[in-house]
Amino acid sequence: MIREVAIVGVGWSGFRPITPDLSYKELMYEAAVQAYEEAGIDPRRDVDSFVTVAEDYNEGTSIFDEYVPDQLGALHRPVQTISGEGIHGLAAAVMQILTGQFDVVVVEGHSKASNILTLPYILAFAFDPVFNRPLAVHPYYVAGMEMLRYQVESGTSHYECACVAAKNRNNALLNPLAGYGAAISAADVMASEPVAEPLTRLECAGHSDGCITLVLAAGETARALTDTPVWVRGIGWANDTPWLESRPWGEARYAQAAAEMVYRTAGIKSPRAEIDFAEIDDTFAYKELQHLEALNLCPPGAAGEWTAAGGTEIGGEFPVNPSGGALGQGHLLDATGLARVLEVVLQLRGQAGQRQIETAEVGLAFGWRGVPTTGGAAVILSN
């Protein structure tokens, strides 16, 4: 990349299944103030541009970007929304800094999922209106079908998928930001009721409310603002076909393409050797495995066995989702990828408390837009 970019401040609020005491504006305000204080900046004076991440249907408001500037201290400043994954928003901010026209850019993403009374019905509006939506089935059937195909093609057992959910829910017990921590086993996961066979309830992330705000700065500015900048080494994102009818159900091709770009921009040749840990989308338990393979962090078909053997636990050879992931923290809608980024930042700074990884110098975060999409985005950070 042609210019150095670092994360110099992070803030968060919520990460609870419900937040009846806070509006989405208050969630945003809390997270923003924390990030600004950490970075030692005044948003009205020091921030050159703001990027927020939101989808209208999740907010229940059309043209939602109308309602973001006030609580971010962003009035009369460049503000834009990305209707995408949180890491797409981060990518937009990184690109703005790389142009040389912006030194400090703020990224915000939030979830007020508890306000959505009929989440599956909202999600169903993401299906092709002509070919798929009229089938009127719960959107998670896409995940069930995909899981089945992934298992068949990769030779992964249901038990190995369930191990992901058990690991992440147990990791979440060590994370004060996680609302879904539980001391459960793979057997408990497999015994929970089916959602869309073979997918069970405990293999699907619940939802959380929360907000994440990041302050990004260009090289010299970053060094002036903090002694512990977390550097953005590479960024990548990609889409596969939106059609259910023509996608490869067994593999996450969007993640392969995003990985190619993020490794290329970061100059990484052998990801497994050059990266210490990862926070990877686990909206459904099998997704963590499928994404690990697509990101070339283990050979195809090997992720399940690796996980079942404990290789991806906090003390394992390659920790994955030490935060608890979406299964342990709850899915934060468009902000889920930023929750992955937040954990990578905290780990790289040595601020992850009980779940701190011993060697954390280079970390990867990967976000997926969820069913029925094939959009994914990745970032590599280092201290």
Binding site: M1, I2, A54, E55, D56, Y57, G60, T61, S62, I63, D65, E66, Y67, P69, D70, A74, L75, H76, R77, P78, V79, Q80, T81, I82, S83, G84, H88, A91, A92, V94, M95, Q96, L98, T99, G100, Q101, I122, L123, F125, A126, D128, P129, V130, G236, W237, A238, N239, D240, T241, P242, W243, R253, A257, M261, T265, R369, P372, T373, T374, G375
Partner: protein, 388 residues
Amino acid sequence: MSGNRVAVVGAGMTKFVRRAQETAKELAWEATHLALESCDMTLDDIDAVIIGTAPDAFDAVHMKSEYLSDGCGGWGKPVIRGYVGGGTGVFAPIQGWYHVASGLFDTVLVVCEEKMSSCQPHPQGAFLTIFDHTTERPLEPNLLWIFALEMNAYMNRYGLDKRDIATVAVKNKRNAADHPAALLGDANITLEDILNTEVLAWPVQRGDVSPVTDGAVALVMSAEHVARRVTNKPVWVEGVGWTLDTAYWTNRDLSYPVYVEEAARMAYKMAGITEPRQQIHIAEPYDPFDYKELHHLEGLMLFDKGEAPRAAADGVTQRDGDLPVCPSGGLLGVGNPIAAAGLMKVAEIFWQLRGEAGARQVPGSPKRGLAQAWGDLMQVGTVIVMGV
């Protein structure tokens, strides 16, 4: 400007129509295909795709850019959708600029698509959901009402008459008669025709308003080393700007768009423009309503506050005037498929600066032009300055 220099090298658009038979994906692909063809490129030359499209509520598709992605040429590529309401159409090429200027991509596609006709019986129903859920939505406001408030504020501040404003609608609908993709072009329309249309929300009459429209527009943008190879007429992005004002629009002075001024100042600074009235030769300000063109010309500092109506009456903004404004025919004439309408303006500047605007070509070989859009709750300004 630092970073890589960025040029627009190709453009294409569909016809703007009241009700397209094509799906949203098909409209997007038609524009994409035309843009690629205009610069002899294929999807293999495209490194990333930027999608612009306004509220998902129009066609009731959640995460609409995911649905549109293959129609926009995004299969297997980095795809991103930026969003600033009605300002999106001019913001999408600003995103295209920063994709290329960042050094991450050599050539990107910028595609804006809107299909408003899917919203039955009328997109105003979807617009109800843009208002604050607690303080405004219970009043069941209509978008036309708040623009009537703004138009009134503007007219009262400067003592303007409806006739001072309707000249814009006449000019733009006449200009659009020369646009092959226009929905409401009319070479013979008169001031009386506009003034005799039905009242929607006083002082807004039907003739003051752009129509509900379906359509798509696409641009190809490249880094300098690619641009110089693929065309001998690159149109350079010289400056970009965007700002957002408070959501509490009721607390603002509606007679002047300060957010447009701020966006313009940002773009002018980047472009090194110190005397916009001398250095801008052609302008495509956002004109969903006729008063908005005047309002925005003042916000862009191309005329003093309250002076744009007089200049319009004097013919300054005609295609052969000193500052041709909306030579395309604008939203009032060509049509207003929200995001696509903004990008249509950028495409018009591209064609005008290359001398390829056909019957719409302004005389005198303009060297620098700007396009501007506006959106949200009278809140966002987006400006792009381009030159040859």
